[in-house]
């Protein structure tokens, strides 16, 4: 009398077990290329999101997902096939070029690195030499650079950040950023920390600037897009998208869109500098 139950149960249990361990089987079919995954630099992320939205509006059946992680993850994801496209806000290191020889680099825009301070800081501009001193921990008081007699609180990105790598290259000249620096894992977190911490200083992508923080002139040049585009502002670096091998299909279409007039217009309107 109880047999139907026993059988039914066996079936249910097996079914549950299969859903349990066999989740993998269902994903193969969704790999059909109507999706593009992008991962990497948090600097590139907001721009890539806008570029993705514009493209998806034109091609409603396409889905592009953009995720953060950082420039190194972008390089790694693209090389390892974790994402279709990697995003990096710095150039590839020699070691990475050697390790991943089949990575293709596409410069989609240029971006300035802004030096930001808490709005209460009276200093309006710094030289690169002063910046180097502050971020290396040699200059510790705002008094030394013309401000109040207050300890400078340095906010930086952690290693692996493309913005940090670019900043180190453009400003630090081989010197290390001080260990005392508060390290935050993204552009947004740096801005938020500087905005809320009196006497703090940090650096971030132009794309993240707003009225919450004060951006400083560097070597006497104001941090504006115009100055950056004319290469007068000294802290400018390329934003890259990376693919493994030569792109094809949907990925190529999207890259063409980005580098075409429509894409570059978006680059412009989002506060970045188009590639000419």
């Amino acid at each position: 009398m109880q047999r139907p139950w026993t059988k039914l149960l066996g079936v249910i249990l097996i079914a549950l077990l299969i859903t349990g361990c066999g989740g993998k089987t269902s994903n193969e079919s969704s790999q059909v290329q109507k999706q593009i995954s992008v991962a990497g630099s948090t600097t590139v992320q907001p721009l890539a999101e806008k570029l993705a939205e514009a493209f998806m509006e034109k091609h409603p059946d396409v889905e592009i997902t953009v995720q953060g992680g950082g420039s190194s993850v972008g390089i790694k994801s693209a090389a390892g096939g974790i994402a279709d496209i990697g995003a990096a806000s710095r150039e590839l290191k020699e070691s990475e070029k050697q390790k991943y020889p089949d990575l293709q680099v596409f410069v989609i825009a240029y971006d300035g690195i802004a030096i930001i301070v808490h709005p209460g800081v009276e200093v309006d501009g710094l030289t690169r030499k002063q910046l180097q001193g502050i971020f290396a921990g040699k200059i510790t008081s705002w008094k030394e650079v013309g401000g109040a007699d207050k300890t400078i609180i340095v906010v930086a990105r952690e290693e692996g950040s493309g913005t940090r790598a670019a900043f180190e290259e453009l400003v630090m000249g081989g010197k290390q950023i001080t260990g005392q620096a508060i390290l935050q894992p993204s552009n947004g977190a740096v801005k938020k920390t500087v905005a809320s911490t009196p006497y703090s200083i940090g650096f971030l992508s132009f794309g993240y600037l707003d009225e919450e923080v004060k951006a400083l002139a560097v070597d006497g040049v104001a941090p504006t897009k115009e100055n950056a585009a004319q290469k007068r502002y000294p802290l400018v670096r390329p934003l890259n998208l990376l693919t493994k091998g030569t792109p094809s299909g949907l990925v190529k279409e999207w890259l063409d869109f980005i580098l075409g007039p429509e894409g570059q217009k978006i680059v412009q309107s989002e506060g970045y500098i188009p590639v000419k």
Binding site: R3, E158, Q180, A181, L183, P185
Partner: protein
């Protein structure tokens, strides 16, 4: 009749087989976790060496320098701070609930503790970021950013409070009635009985509670990233007062993994898994100490 029975018998065997597979799968998964992390960590230990890895003061992945000491010290200091703040309150709370509180108060406090235990750690992190960090920043010491060990310790103290209080309370409640009655019969006051008889008798359970609290504190990740500043330094006092060490920023072992894992490649990635192994071993040590304390009790 006989045929039927054997069919049921075979169905039973099949189910047993499925369950066995299930159990084996669970075991494999559980051990795979430890194994994979060890495998990934191994190159780091081999290339860097155990001692330089554990005692190195420099963690600079860009220069292939991997010294874990700053994070070890950071984790230990923040846990110390949390224990200093959280344990006295937790044990007092347990004593209060087990010995003093009238039933209606227990009915209010107990769900409150339950809720404290259930609130997601990011909410504590948010509270720390929005309330504690600005508050700590008011302490007038140069270089004090508000982010640091003090804010993190307070957040953690609240987070371990339920663990410490719940387990201590169990220990206090399990003290034999005869002890209490004997003491009271000898003319001791209720408080003398608590401090002289009940708490000493519940000692090993309370020790276990504290150790488990330590385990929880060592393992917390997100709330720590949010308030501790994540600087890779061995914390130092900010001025001549040694207590200002708690105003220093720091980084925990857990934070080190979470902040850097998605960036890491090669040896750097291995070093983060090695960080995980160190954390794993620390927690194992702490937990086995708790088990020892529990066992001594029974």
């Amino acid at each position: 009749m006989k045929g039927k029975k054997s069919e049921a018998f075979w169905a039973g065997r099949v189910i047993e087989g499925i369950l066995l597979l299930d159990a084996l799968l669970a075991i494999v998964v559980i051990f795979l976790i430890g194994l994979l992390i060890l495998i990934e960590a191994w190159p780091a230990f081999r290339k860097i060496g155990f001692v330089p890895f554990l005692l190195g003061k420099e963690w600079r992945p860009g220069k292939e320098l991997y010294g874990l000491l700053p994070m070890i010290v950071g984790s230990i200091l923040v846990t110390l701070g949390a224990v200093t703040l959280g344990v006295p309150i937790g044990v007092a709370l347990a004593t209060f609930l087990a010995e003093v509180a009238p039933p209606w108060v227990q009915k209010v406090v107990r769900p409150a503790i339950e809720l404290l235990a259930g609130i997601p750690s990011v909410v504590y992190g948010l509270f720390g970021l929005a309330v504690l960090v600005p508050l700590v920043r008011q302490i007038p010491v140069p270089g004090n950013s508000g982010f640091g060990l003090l804010s993190a310790s307070v957040v953690l103290a609240v987070m371990i409070l339920p663990t410490v209080a719940n387990i201590s309370e169990d220990a206090i409640r399990s003290v034999a009635r005869e002890y209490r009655e004997g003491s009271l019969a000898l003319g001791a006051t209720h408080w003398q009985t608590i401090i002289g008889v009940v708490l000493p008798a519940a000692r090993s359970g309370i020790v276990a509670a504290v150790i488990l609290g330590i385990g929880r504190a060592l393992g917390e990740t997100m709330a720590m990233i949010m308030v501790i500043g994540n600087s890779v330094i061995i914390p130092k006092p900010l001025n001549s007062n040694p207590l200002t060490i708690f105003l220093s920023q720091a980084r925990t072992l857990t934070g080190n993994i979470a902040v850097e894992i998605s960036y890491a490649t090669g040896l750097h990635e291995n070093a983060l898994f090695a960080t995980g192994v160190v954390l794993f071993i620390l927690i194992m040590l702490v937990n086995s100490m708790a088990h020892l304390a529990m066992r001594r009790r029974s």
